[in-house]
C-alpha cells in the first residue's frame, strides 16, 4: 500500500492509462542537501534507520569513513566521503574532503518507474516523491537497470527492491523526512521545490563570495529535475562527489526498450497472427492427393504401410 492516497498518485509503473487527475493542487517538494555545510556526522543515516526501522548488518572497515560501504536494502542513505585535490583561485593545490549524502534523487522522470514491469510497484506522487510499493514488486531488478544514479538495491533476503522513500509516510502527514529532522548543521532542508531552489541559489551566492566560483545547485535537467537537489562547491565537476553524474539521463537503451520497442513488437506479433488467419481464409491451404482420396472423409490412418 502506498503511503499516500490513490488520488495523490501521478504516475504508476507498467500502466498505460492515466492516473487520477482530479487532485493536482499539491506542491512539488524537494530535499536540499548542502554539501558545503555537511560535517559527515551520519545523524541522517541513523535517523533513517530509526524512522524506517532498518537494521543493516554491521560491515567492515575499508580504511575510509564510508560506513556502510554502499547503499543496500537496509541502508537507504549513505554518506560518501571523497578526498580530492582541487585548485584554489590562486592556482594552489588544496586537499578537500567532500561528503555527499547519497540516496534516491526522486527524479521527475524516474528511470526505475519507466523500466518496472509490475503495475503499481513504483509510483510517483503529485508531490514528486518516487515510492516503491513492495507488495507489487516482483524482484526482477529492472529498476536498477533503469536508474541513472545506481540507487535501488535488491534484498538478498526477500528479492524485493528497496530505496529511500523520502519518508513519504512522514511527508504525507505534514512532517519533514527523518534525515532532515536529525541534521545538526542545517545541511539538509526540506520544503517546496521552489523554496529549496531559492535557498540553494542563496547558498551558491555565499559560496561564490567565499571563493568557490563554480558553486552551483545540482538539479539535473536530463531527468527533468530531481526532488533531491544538492548545493555543490564544485558545481562544474559533480563527478568529484563520489562519481555523481554530470548529466544523468535515462539510458537511450532503456528508453528504446521501454518506449517504441514495446508497441512495435506487440503490433508485429498480432500482425503475424492476423496475416496467417486471413491468408488461410482467402488463399487457403496446400493439400496433397492423400488428403482427398476416399472423398477426404477419413483422416489418414496408421494402418498404411510404413516405408
Amino acid at each position: 500500500m502506498s503511503s499516500l492516497q490513490s488520488l495523490d498518485i501521478v504516475r504508476r509503473s507498467a500502466t498505460t492509462t492515466p492516473s487520477p487527475q482530479a487532485r493536482r493542487a499539491e506542491k512539488e517538494v524537494a530535499k536540499l542537501i548542502d554539501v558545503s555545510s555537511c560535517i559527515g556526522c551520519k545523524a541522517c543515516q541513523v535517523a533513517c534507520m530509526q524512522w524506517n526501522d532498518l537494521r543493516d548488518d554491521v560491515g567492515s572497515n575499508i580504511g575510509t569513513y564510508d560506513n556502510p560501504r554502499d547503499l543496500s536494502a537496509e541502508s537507504w542513505t549513505v554518506m560518501r566521503f571523497s578526498e580530492v585535490e582541487t585548485k584554489t583561485q590562486a592556482e594552489e593545490t588544496k586537499l578537500e574532503w567532500l561528503i555527499r549524502k547519497d540516496g534516491c534523487m526522486h527524479c521527475a522522470d524516474p528511470g526505475c518507474l519507466k523500466a518496472c514491469p509490475a503495475p503499481g510497484a513504483i509510483v510517483q506522487y503529485t508531490n514528486g516523491i518516487v515510492d516503491f510499493i513492495s507488495e507489487h514488486c516482483i524482484g526482477c531488478g529492472n529498476c536498477i537497470t533503469g536508474c541513472p544514479f545506481d540507487v535501488p538495491r535488491i534484498s538478498k533476503k526477500d528479492n524485493k527492491a528497496y530505496k529511500c522513500s523520502l519518508c513519504s509516510d512522514r511527508v504525507g502527514v505534514g512532517l519533514e523526512p527523518a534525515c532532515v529532522k536529525a541534521c545538526p548543521t542545517g545541511a539538509i532542508r526540506f520544503g517546496s521545490k521552489e523554496d529549496m531552489l531559492d535557498f540553494g541559489e542563496e547558498r551558491v551566492t555565499d559560496l561564490k563570495e567565499r571563493g568557490f566560483a563554480q558553486a552551483a545547485v545540482y538539479d539535473p535537467q536530463g531527468v527533468s529535475g530531481t526532488h533531491v537537489v544538492y548545493v555543490l562547491q564544485h558545481g562544474d565537476k559533480p563527478e568529484l562527489y563520489h562519481g555523481l553524474p554530470s548529466n544523468p539521463k535515462i539510458s537511450p537503451l532503456v528508453s528504446l526498450w521501454k518506449g517504441i520497442a514495446k508497441p512495435l513488437a506487440v503490433a508485429a506479433m498480432i500482425g503475424a497472427v492476423l496475416t496467417g488467419f486471413f491468408h488461410y481464409m482467402t488463399v487457403g491451404p496446400i493439400e496433397n492427393e492423400d488428403d482427398n482420396d476416399e472423398g477426404g472423409k477419413k483422416a489418414p490412418t496408421p494402418e498404411g504401410e510404413r516405408v
Partner: protein, 207 residues
C-alpha cells in the same frame, strides 16, 4: 489401395521437439507478461508476478538446451544451397496460391531452413543475454551498460523468436498433412511428393 507413409521424425526427436515447443510457449507467455503491461495478467498463469520472474529463465534455459540438441541433429539438413535461392524468389507466388511453379525442395525447403537458422540465432542471443540480467544470481557480475544492452537485445531476439514460432505454427496449419510428422513421426507419400519431391526421389529412387 494401401497408403504409404514415410518416417520423418524419430521418437526421441519428437519428444525433444515438444519439450522445446512447450517451453517456448511458457517462456513466451511469461516473457510477454513482463514485456508489455497489457499482458501482465499472464503472470496469473504462473502463480503471480514473483513466480513468473522466477520461472521464466529456467523455462528459457530448458528451451535453449533442448533446441541445441535439435540443432546438432538437423543442422546438416538445413544448409542453404543455391537451389534455395530460387525457392526464395518464388515463395511470394506460392503465398498467393500459385502452387505450380515452386522449384523442387529436398527434406527441407528454403523457408524451413531459414526458419531453423532464425530459431537458432535468436535462441543463442536469448540464452546469452538472459544470463546477463538474471537476478538474483548473475546480473550483479556485469556492468550496467552491458545489462541495459542485454535487456534490449533479449526483447528483440524474443520478438524474432515469437514471430518465427507464429510462422512455424501457421505453416503446419497451412500445408495439410504436416502435423503428423511431429505427432506420429510419419508423413504420407502424397505429402512428400507434393512438398518435398527431391526427398521423395532420395527415399524411393524415382519421381
Amino acid at each position: 489401395m494401401t497408403r504409404r507413409y514415410f518416417q520423418r521424425y524419430q521418437r526421441p526427436d519428437r519428444i525433444n521437439h515438444w519439450i522445446v515447443a512447450i517451453c517456448l510457449f511458457l517462456a513466451g507467455l511469461s516473457g510477454l507478461a513482463l514485456f508489455h503491461p497489457s499482458m501482465y495478467w499472464f503472470t496469473n498463469l504462473f502463480g503471480g508476478g514473483p513466480w513468473t520472474r522466477i520461472l521464466h529463465p529456467f523455462l528459457g534455459v530448458i528451451m535453449a538446451l533442448g533446441f541445441a540438441r535439435l540443432f546438432f541433429r538437423f543442422r546438416r539438413d538445413n544448409v542453404l544451397t543455391d537451389a534455395d535461392r530460387q525457392w526464395n524468389r518464388t515463395i511470394f507466388a506460392l503465398l498467393r496460391g500459385d502452387k505450380g511453379n515452386m522449384p523442387p525442395a529436398g527434406k527441407y525447403n528454403a523457408g524451413q531452413k531459414m526458419m531453423f537458422w532464425t530459431f537458432a540465432i535468436s535462441l543463442l542471443v536469448l540464452f546469452v543475454t538472459g544470463f546477463l540480467f538474471w537476478r538474483p544470481w548473475f546480473a550483479h557480475f556485469f556492468p550496467i551498460t552491458v545489462v541495459r544492452l542485454a535487456v534490449l537485445l533479449h526483447a528483440f531476439a524474443a520478438t524474432m523468436l515469437v514471430l518465427c514460432a507464429i510462422v512455424h505454427v501457421y505453416a503446419t496449419i497451412w500445408v495439410k498433412g504436416t502435423l503428423r510428422a511431429m505427432t506420429r513421426g510419419t508423413v504420407s507419400e502424397g505429402w512428400v511428393r507434393k512438398n518435398h519431391p527431391l526427398w521423395y526421389r532420395e527415399l524411393t529412387g524415382h519421381d
